[in-house]
């Protein structure tokens, strides 16, 4: 049996790293005494994983944990036990049980939705910039290679993010968009902001951007969004 849970990373803990987030969930699972399966060997580790890594500073309403169980559980009572053992800043939204052999969520995730609120100078023509982005055939970005010591790799932004919605809210611009996740990679929301600032002359204060991942989902062959969990337990 696999237990799959949809959780949050709230604003208060947005600056903990992916590794710290993983470790925090692992400890919560131990505190809640979930009957988790462990790997064999000298240094047994808990069999659990996250569907995708979130950048430091990004908040999320759609993180997915997948835990291999050693015993059957009762879903509602287990979720209550886990909830009290999570720090404030991580909330449980939904959960389901799946067969151990079901595809890993990590492999299923096909896209993520984002909402970004970012300060943007009043006197700019933001609509025109957004239109230009939406109409462009191709937008290239030099993506830094992780641990690549400043080396970059050219990626096609439009193959990940095809379309943006924008509206002004006071001093801020609010952007919403979907970003594809492919087996070979994806693109970070923060990177899109750099593209807009540097290639589309949008005067965004990217350091102050408040980035929220609103959803993570599978995509079927027609390009339709499919939820990752069955609606078995909703908190």
């Amino acid at each position: 049996m696999k237990l799959r849970i949809k959780i949050t990373k709230d604003a208060g803990i947005r600056f903990i790293s992916h590794l710290e987030y993983v470790r925090t969930i692992e400890r919560a699972i131990r505190r809640a005494k979930l009957p988790v399966a462990y790997s064999e060997g000298f240094n047994p580790h808990m069999k659990f994983s996250l569907a995708s890594a979130l950048g430091v500073g990004v908040t999320s309403e759609a993180e997915f944990v997948e835990i291999e169980l050693a015993e059957e559980i009762d879903l509602p009572s287990t979720m209550i036990k886990l909830a009290v053992n999570l720090p404030t800043g991580i909330r449980i939204l939904a959960a389901d049980l799946a067969d151990t052999k079901a595809d890993k969520l990590m492999a299923q995730a096909g896209g993520a939705d984002y909402k970004v609120v970012v300060p943007c100078r009043e006197d700019c023509n933001w609509q025109a910039a957004v239109d230009r982005f939406n109409e462009a055939e191709s937008v290239l970005f030099q993506k830094p290679i992780p641990k690549g010591r400043g080396m970059t790799k050219e990626i096609e932004v439009k193959s990940f993010i095809d379309h943006l919605e924008a509206e002004r809210a006071g001093d801020n611009l609010q952007l919403t968009f979907s970003c594809k996740i492919t087996p070979t990679g994806s693109m970070k929301a923060a990177e899109l902001l750099l593209v807009l600032r540097d290639s589309f002359e949008l005067p965004l204060l990217v350091e102050k951007a408040d980035i929220l991942r609103t959803d993570l989902y599978a995509v079927d062959k027609d390009g339709k969004k499919m939820p990752l969990l069955k609606p078995e337990y909703i908190a």
Binding site: G12, I13, R14, F15, I16, S17, E20, Y21, R23, T24, E26, R27, A28, I29, R30, R31, K33, Y38, F42, N43, P44, V56, G57, N85, L86, P87, T88, G89, L205, E207, K208, A209, D210
Partner: protein
Amino acid sequence: MTKQFPIDILSQVQKPARYTGGEFGSIIKTAEDTKVSIVLAFPDVYEVGMSYLGFKILYHILNKEEGVAAERVYAPWVDMEAKMRENALPLTSQETGKTLRDFDFVGFTLQYELSYTNILNMLDLGQIPLFSKERTDEDPFVIAGGPCVYNPEPLADFVDFFIIGEGEEIIVELMDAYKQWQSEGLPGGRSEFLQRVVRIDGIYVPSFYDVEYLPDGKVAKVKANNPMAPAVVKKRVVKDMNTISFPTAPIVPFGEIVHDRIMLEVFRGCTRGCRFCHAGMVYRPVRERKPELLKQLARELVDNTGYNEISLVSLSTADYSCLAPLIHDLITELKEEKVSISLPSLRVDSFSVDLAKEVQAVRKSGLTFAPEAGSQRMRNVINKGVTEEDLMNAVGAAFESGWSTVKLYFMIGLPGETDEDILAIAELAKAVQYKYFQVTGHRGAKVTVSVSSFVPKPYTPFQWKGQDTIEEIRRKQMLLKDALKVKNITYQYHDSVTSVIEGVFARGDRRLGKALYLAWQRGAKFDGWSEHFSYSRWLEAISDCGLDKAFYANRDRDIDEIFPWEHIQPAVSRAFLWNEYQKSLREELTEDCRHGKCSGCGVCPNLDVKIIDWKEQGHDEAKN
């Protein structure tokens, strides 16, 4: 709920999670539940401060009290400090984001002398006047405790009062005194509160004492200028570790901290009597927790934290009288839950190696031993009751069990040390290497020799002894370096300039407060981090105040010299310390009073306490 730093600041500093709180187990009380607020302030970075057991204990004890809210704050790393100053943001607590100035108490721990500049820096960032005399009724009381309070004098100008000794009981008495004063409407302002707290045993109010100096700079006398102030402030001590509360639901941090595991304190104190060891003298006597209690605490800690490692901590855990059965029981109980047990240090004997084997069944990383000195003569001088044979037995047992990497700790600059004693360190390291060949028939054991330089501390037998000059230490380091140019022996040491300043402050007096202030003004902070330490800045600050580093660090003291710290007492008698000093000159040993006879240090009668050793005293629990 928590006020946080802005996103753009947090996203531009290293390890931003240091500053955002929200950890599991942190306690946030509402304003209605908060009558007295105290922030426990650790003068170093988050990862270091979060690893400090003393604050875990106090956080728990304070927050258990009704109406008391205890929060935490750490020194912001230099990148964060720059951002804070640039944006005029004050230093705030982890829990509620309250500025330090708005607390009733700011409580620092004094773990090492080189953190003192961080204290000034944190007060400044917290918008609190640095000097006690400049604080008004609007400001918090700045208090301090921890091992360095046995000579708090260099901080006398900055700290309103010190808590001497173990904090569990006195901190509650202090909170009660504040609540009482508050319920009366804070009559008389700050000075009245100081008059009240000075009546609590173990509280030292430095402004209630005047120090007079002789023309040669030594202390003439220390005299109370307030009728309520006791002539001598004795340390507080918990008589029985089994009756005080220990935190079983500590905060579990998100990020990796220095000691990222459960810390279970098995006993307090150490009576081995190593003559260089400050902790061994000031934390007397030995008081053990019952094995049954420890097992129960371990169970709760595992349940509440989710950690998978328990470190059994104390000044020398291998001396816990029921250690083998305790470890056995813990391993048996917790194996299924994949919880491992670890020991922070090993004794130099094969018993310790057997334990290490049991607890680290898998991890064959290196073992560490601390013979402290290379020659038997020198080990007798420092009363380290370890022989070369003990060490050979220990490493032999380790090599037989499959270890091939050993780390050895030594000190140089010990009293009466000769070049032969230094070279004996190299000989010992080579003998360890040869032992590997004897045991395994192979060459190639890796031996690391790690050498620190000795700093004489107050309330040790060597408080009368001058510290080696930096030139002498460097010469000895080079001597040893040459002698250790051997394959597979690694020699670790670092330039000892920090130990000079540590030595100055360890045995310093109030006049050094000026130098501390000056050094801080000129940018000193994080002096314990070599990349931030500037020796020349310190030397200038000290001499600009008309003081002399050699007077504090390198001078031998006479039998009758009055020390600046003697009105604060860990209750180890001066006669005992002098006698130990004389015995060290004769290379005579003193036995451990835990098993042998009382060596007359004075602690037990002075404080009306006694040694608690479960096995020696034939307690039932020990017999299983």
